[in-house]
Symmetry: D3
Subunit: 254 residues, 6 copies
């Protein structure tokens, strides 16, 4: 059995439900999925600042819970906290953006991302670049209306999203499409037949990549390299679990 | 059930057995593995020229057999014929190099490749660059003796390979290691505990990536983009299966 | 008068003193320097995970205090939280790494970084890349002993640091040297005559760059682009100041 | 006297005639041109898959005939088999794309490619990138009608091609134009006065580059590096000439 | 006191006045500004050729005058002669383009350049690339009318320049704007409130960067690296000052 | 007949003789070679500053003499003034570095440069990068003794140069070697049989590339793009020929 912890870095429990539904639909029979929701932060991450906040929330949840799991998934596009978790945890850590891009790349050619807000594009682009996939990205196209209900965007904006995807194929030369962001979890599956190129979403890609990594490189702390534990050092103001995880010695606060 | 066709682009049936053993060991229970051996070519691909020959052999085998499978794996480091197959087949096509690099990248940081011959390094490096992973590659290190028996290299050179991997970690700053080439299939699994960073091999990575893609993007021909079928055109001298696959009209040879 | 807030993302108040001393020494007469120390985190940031924690601490301090200042400096190499602050604050935000690299680049040629621990190198390199200066970086060289007292590293390791800098010039082809990290604040000034190329440190570079930006682009919120405020949205669990800053509507927690 | 073997990787003998005409028109008086047509493959290469097939056809022809020549030219845009031939042959091997780009680059600035089909663009772009010229490429513009007769495209589509070239100059900022593909051989010469920037075609560039390389680096096998002969190894199913060329030991097939 | 020599590489003394006015407006109280005009060259540099001429004029002026100054600024966009001066002079040398880009980069995100002529764009783009900032550049937009009076372009074309800047923000995704070229000196300051993102100009950025470098790395010749003096060698036909500066031994011309 | 003007940007007439000898040896029978020596500058260009001076000398000679020629060659490694000439002249302009790299690239793989002084390496590397060939460069290796007589370096240092070339092949992975700089003109030809990979020199490559371009794109001014003539503008202090060439209106100096 593979136990995967999915952390929703947004505070929206309705998004966590969307994520859980798609994750369970695509997981292997022997995979058990748990979804946790960020205890603090914002409803839907669109900016570098919101991602920075979310990264800390993700670390706290991971520190408390990882010991019971075989892999962790960070389930917001932009992958907040991804590298920090990879460095701390002795189990594989998968990001939605990174997993979707790694999967799409293996279908061949160039990729477009369809996003749910204009404001989110710069952060997405920087994420794609930071994770090393920029050369494959031909465009990011995004909805330009304010979203009244983030958990209903598939229903309310479905047709417009398909239209954007078709534009990405025809005008930008995309060979595959990523329907980005947790609010679009599962949409790729349902609209696949309406698009002339493969469409993927981050949640299902992340689940399959997590299952793959669990089997390829099971639980084991690195003893060397830049993902090994750093030297012990004083820390303060951290939860006990987080302090323990990063090898901190809790500093006497007198 | 997922049916995966693995094509060994080398003519060595002993390598095909090695590949099949490791592939079956790591495949999901519902996966069925078939391994075919290139009908023409060389014993072990080390050069651009040998890869060019192998690419054609791979195309012929794929054209004849793909219709019965859910995905195809090209099982030689350097991925001969990979892009050609991705373009022609309506099912996912996975390369050993590409799959290993995509998997290693998701463990984080930078990667070294351990290879079994000096001569092979330039071709490996060009493959890594062509597939978009060069920024993560810190080094390729290789055995420098002539190999008497390609199917026994794990037994005969196992310690030297571990030594090279340790050098890659300590001197080159590798955060993970790929033990490259079909002759090393399965070695990553057995030496994992002797290395201070994750070690992966191409065969198992390719199987897991193929299973993932089958579930993420099931069998479907692309109708647009650069992987869609080209316009029909005259062809000659091709096997009937290959001609059919690329949309060729067999030219009258009178 | 220019008022600059320097945030030390480490919890070490002895480092804050080092930073304050060097900052005041190089600041313009009309500049007033305030240094605040992170209320939670670790003694000295060396990893991606520690930087992720520090980024959140930096955001909290900035949210509480920025309104009284003309610019903010993030005073740890690796620039934790830099992009998040730039996005939120209507005043210039300068990072130690970014400022040192921007200054060194204007002296011409290629740059080496001298660091105080081996473990810190990967994070430094990723920072340099993320901030767009990788093409100029010829090497990072680092002390390899465990440091007993981070605030005494200049005294205890001064000669070894000069030796590393000379190696960077002779063996790596560096045209300038950055003595990196808050613990080395001021060292560049004192060892300058012993090095055959220019040496810079992050604190003084950041102060001069902050003064420059205050005069070039005074206090003003962006109304467009990816650094403008995002749409208002629900948030929870954030300090009131932080919520206010990112435009969050505090979510009713009933 | 310089003897140049031009291999047309397409099966169309009408294209071979076009190529031969332009090659002889621009060759030095002391150059003797021979053009051979691929014995198998497709009428006109537009895809990665067709290029993979062509690469093998090119290798077979080269193996049989190179011994009588001073240089070989691969005469299809996309340069199928180019690197394989460079590796095997002790004489210079020139590709149409590579030669056109190397020549255009020496006229200065940035380059556009005018192509004869939409479908061909992705393969062209990947070729330009693989050969290291991507930074100079500002656009690829292509005819969008199906071509009734590949050998008449200059006559039938001449004006539209000039129009595309002018758009590349005015809208994309091209400083020179490559009229790409063997079917356009010679067009650059005839339309040159109608274009406001230099126009080049691949056949004439390849002939001049081949003549240059023959004189700069006469016939000589490399004894070291990644273009030297690989260790001898078993092979099967190859023509005797090809086996000989790659150093294969023909494997006993019992 | 800091003494800064600004060299106007154009022959237009009206431009020198514009430059001097803006430079003095933004300089620190303790800074003394001197502006010299190129004794030969063109009215306004727009091309690589004009920049090559200007580079030599700049060297001559610098050689004659640098000894009395703490820093030199090259005050034409495109930075003619910048690297040559950095190599020869023992004091910091700042370029308008380089300083503007380094400053804008520290405000975050991506940058557009607004230029005063179409013809100048290629040279600007090559400068941005050569100086290592190309990844941040989203566009160059330029006036397309012939300019009757280069010193009146702010008055005559002010509204059109603001319009171009707004297009760069909305259509190209610019997070900041550089109003480029000496003729636009000071415009950023006056139109700042009409633009939705930060606007900078090269003259004020260069002055602030020069002041910063003077304080960070005071007057000192490099003894090593690629900016150290080359071995003495014969020279001829140079002004005595220039010969002296580059370490030339004046060749006997008999 | 093709008439090629070679400009030696160094003031050494002994170098001009070396250049002329090698140029005539490799030129086509119908090519006429003229070599001119820079009237001012230094004995042997090693730095950015010396190249800046040389660029102006090259422009003056070209302006005076180009009208009688079919192509111009700039015959110093580092290609001083190359882009300026390309922009001004209606005939092809070839640089030694650019031509050598373009030729070596067509032999395949990666390249090392062997140089005659340590100090010259940074300038060479920057030239290779500026001209777009950096990805192929594996190393620059250089003599480290002071050269007593630049025109005798082949005789005096021949063995050491071969040794450096062999190191480049074995230790750096070079697939070809460029023996750089006018003082090594012709050496590639004479030592070719002692090296295990192809060796090229800049003079002969430049001659062959110039001949190629003359035939590919005969004399014709560009009417559009960034190499077209700029708008007429005031100039002063230039030779009449240079003023005429850049379209300058000589400014009244009263």
């Amino acid at each position: 059995m593979m136990k995967i912890l999915i952390i929703n870095p947004n505070i929206s429990s309705s998004l966590s439900e969307l994520i859980a539904t798609e994750a369970r639909r695509c997981a292997a029979p022997e995979t058990e999925i748990t979804v946790l929701t960020a205890p603090f932060g914002v409803a839907y991450i669109e900016t570098r600042a919101e991602a920075q906040i979310a990264g800390y929330a993700v670390m706290q949840l991971a520190a408390e819970h990882y010991a019971d799991y075989d892999a962790v998934i960070v389930a917001a596009f932009g992958d907040p906290g991804l590298e920090a978790l990879r460095e701390m945890l002795p189990i594989p850590v998968v990001g939605m953006t990174d997993a979707a891009l790694a999967s799409a790349a293996q279908l061949g050619g160039r990729i477009s991302i369809i996003a749910i807000s204009q404001r989110i594009q710069a952060w997405y682009r920087e994420t794609v670049e930071r994770e090393g996939h920029l050369a494959r990205l031909v465009s990011i196209r995004a909805l330009d209306e304010t979203l009244s209900d983030i958990s209903q965007v598939q229903q309310n904006q479905g047709e417009r999203l398909i239209e954007l995807a078709n534009q990405a194929v025809k005008q930008d030369g995309a060979d595959s499409i990523i329907l980005a962001g947790a609010p679009l979890a599962g949409l790729a599956r349902s609209v696949s037949s309406q698009l002339p190129v493969p469409a993927l979403d981050g949640v299902s890609c992340a689940v399959k990549q997590a299952e793959a990594l669990i089997q390829l490189y099971p639980n084991q702390a690195q003893r060397s390299g830049s993902y090994a534990l750093p030297p012990r050092k004083a820390c303060q103001g951290l939860s006990q679990e987080l302090a323990l995880l990063i090898g901190g010695e809790i500093k006497d606060q007198t």
